[in-house]
Subunit: 228 residues, 2 copies
């Protein structure tokens, strides 16, 4: 049996001025035309902004690429669905009969969308600061656990540690070419990991920078491989 | 000659508490390690949130897909670079010697990134409300000119008008199948535009909904064709 938005309000510990917003946020599109899709659109952008800003503050030395990667590790369907389950959002979802029968209340995409819609609803009902507080509270432990490994260790170090941890051959860097005049030379480097049959290239204003770039690209390829 | 951040502050009509933020926002990565990439990361998410929310308010009947499309038509490299040029941001950019020589101050990507970084800088220096005000002022005419054609007219109407406007054959809709019990039937429909050699399919809980979905998909294909 679906519990009411009023009961949800208690569970998420966020008193609404107008409970209508929470009602809409809990309504899946299968249940009618006034559903949570528009609130999800807004909530998604609030969430990305708030978490992005929190990471900006938490990691003052992280570059844009690292911040993007860290955010993607926190704001994704799997993590959001897990947070939604911790709030038991499935108990409050308003679903059409088809989704109800097929177990939509436990589907990652539906849970994750509803959580974003609730964020949108809090913003619409109570303004930006309230939405920010609620998000930061919901993500507090995840933010705390977010390792700054990605930040304090450079790509070459992380690649080497990754491979050693798996007893794989260490990466081999080869200088391919360098071009330009001495004060603005560009170096091109290749990074090979034979055990994984992977090869990337990097370039930069020093040989070391070129190697770091190639190592980062290789880490990205390993990441892709792991997530598939 | 590059003009100073202090002069930029006047041009963008936004007094900073700490001009350091604007200085960083104007600094391209070619000019040093304390550059605008991190502020661009934050500014991008503020901008997407503020414009997304403005569209949410402006188009109360638009669904999530329409809101996304409308936002993408406002927040993209071309539009941001055009706005940056209207503020003459190129005059204030701090570039490395290579970018300086190759005309980086007039490159779309560099101008667009700097504008997002300035938004991030205003947010960091003056808070969310100030950033929101500045963005809405910068985009006021674009938001006003954003047509609600996409909202008030349904996909079938828009497709028909698009084709008639180009003296092309009108779309032909064919019911392929319907399945399920009477109260939860699903209809599958095909939409063909022979003059364009395009065909899409749609499904929905009524024949009309299925046709609207097929028409929307065909519009998307026409959009893709135009933008390539």
């Amino acid at each position: 049996m679906t519990l009411s938005p009023k009961q949800c309000e208690k569970a998420i510990q966020c008193p609404f001025k107008d409970i209508k917003w929470l009602h809409i946020a809990l309504t899946h599109r299968s249940a009618g035309s006034e559903n949570n899709e528009r609130l999800e659109f807004v909530g998604d952008s609030v969430l990305n902004f708030v978490i992005g800003n929190a990471l900006f503050e938490q990691f003052p030395k992280a570059n844009e690429g690292t911040l993007s990667r860290l955010r993607a590790s926190l704001v994704n369907e799997t993590t959001l669905a897990e947070r939604a389950r911790s709030l038991k959002l499935g108990d409050y979802l308003i679903l059409g009969s088809g989704e109800l029968k097929s177990g939509g209340f436990n589907r990652n995409s539906i849970l994750s969308d509803a959580l974003e819609a609730i964020i949108g609803a809090i913003f619409k009902d109570q303004g930006f600061s309230a939405a920010q507080r609620w998000i930061l509270n919901l993500f507090a432990d995840l933010l705390e656990a977010t390792s700054d490994n990605h930040v304090i260790k450079d790509p070459k170090t992380r690649l080497q540690e990754f491979l050693q941890g798996r007893k794989l051959s260490i990466p081999v860097y080869t200088l391919l070419t360098s071009e330009g005049l001495s004060h603005e030379q560009v170096f091109h480097v290749e990074c090979r990991v034979d055990d994984k049959n992977l090869m990337t290239r990097g370039s930069g204003s020093s040989r070391k920078r070129a190697e770091q770039q190639a190592a980062q690209k290789l880490l990205d390829q390993l990441d892709d491989g792991l997530s598939h």
